[in-house]
Symmetry: C2
Subunit: 238 residues, 2 copies
Amino acid sequence: MKENIHQHIFNEYAQGIQAGRITPGTKLPSENELMKSYSTSRETVRKALNLLMQHGYIQKLKGKGSYVLDMGRMNFPITGLTSFKEMSGKIGRASHTHVHTTHNIEAPPAVVEALQLEPGAPVCEVIRVREIDNERVILDKDYFLPAIVGRLTAEIAAGSIYEYLEQVLKLVISYAKKEISVEVATIEDRELLDLHGLSHVVVVRNFVYLEDTTLFQYTESRHRLDKFQFVDFARRMP
Amino acid sequence: MKENIHQHIFNEYAQGIQAGRITPGTKLPSENELMKSYSTSRETVRKALNLLMQHGYIQKLKGKGSYVLDMGRMNFPITGLTSFKEMSGKIGRASHTHVHTTHNIEAPPAVVEALQLEPGAPVCEVIRVREIDNERVILDKDYFLPAIVGRLTAEIAAGSIYEYLEQVLKLVISYAKKEISVEVATIEDRELLDLHGLSHVVVVRNFVYLEDTTLFQYTESRHRLDKFQFVDFARRMP
DNA sequence: TAGTGGTCTAGACCACCCA
DNA sequence: GGGTGGTCTAGACCACTAG
């Protein structure tokens, strides 16, 4: 499992808070106490506590201690890099994915720009429609570099592509940039989604990078307006 | 003043990257070299580098080194807790704020819920309209606890309320939770904004907390659809 | 093998909070 | 004054990357 000490401490408390075993307002043991009870050094304890703080689980107060926030059990944290499959599990709604197309094509202009390709370069395009409560509300258009992912099958696309990339291809996803905007619905949006006459869709553009800083995926996630929500937790930087 | 060593190192590189003096792809000095050139310890250097990494300025590669990303100069980082005033400066567009109302009122139901108040409790309401390129595109509705902010004047509201709170009242803002969704425009939206017939607005709900974990402000920022953009940088968590 | 970043240790001094 | 978190130090061992 290769679990670090500080990650181990973080996990224990993060899970405890998320499961409600540790209630908001509770004071955590001091760094000195944690140090003893985990038989480790203070800096290691502090790494764990800082992780908990950065994730919004606790608040640290100089001279007082660390206190549990009630933000940890926050409604659906769509923040970060959470994928549709992880998310739909959390919200516990009837959801279903329909794979519309999976093929290698010449990159369309928008994708050439997004992935910084040569005009006419090949990309692997995967178009999926997400259904929640029997309504088609999300259109996902993914573009991968064939040199890296090879050819994706429909079966893979039906599940979690991230799971496949990380566990089978052993690719390590490192970071991503997201852009959220609202745009006029295209003809494709109208055909593949149940828009009920809504004129706009929320577009989430996602640029995904690997550990070696290679940009390897571009995703356009097109959501029906009324089914879109994004939650963000932010700390004030000094 | 009072600048930590690791914050100092962070600032030097962050500014260098943002100003373009350090170009993307550049390899940073190794931790050992930085340690010597700043006459400090390695853990301190690492704190600075981790900050740079968390902010998307660099990528660290085991066994190789730290490399500058081209994400640091990212377009309008509305992520985090950036306020309108800070932002409008960055995008460099003609912008103007019109203070519509500033008064203490009984909290409306939605605000009672958001700030967890007793029904009928007083709140300080500030309604402002943001103009960009001579179009009224953002409606900001702020609600503060009068016990903390007292009475805000129109002059203060015309500038940056955050500046006033932090520099005059010495309040320390610690963290915030944001929720982004799209909703049907209200009558008030139609009156105060130039919606050009658009039926929906993007609503950003902001819950702001102080250092002692007090929730003290609730903000509703209502944006015209086509003028809304949100950029997010996320790292994959282990 | 030499250099890199990732983790950990056992101390230290400081500023802050509260009794 | 005793406890708390914030910062820093000078070592150590490991896993990874490279030539």
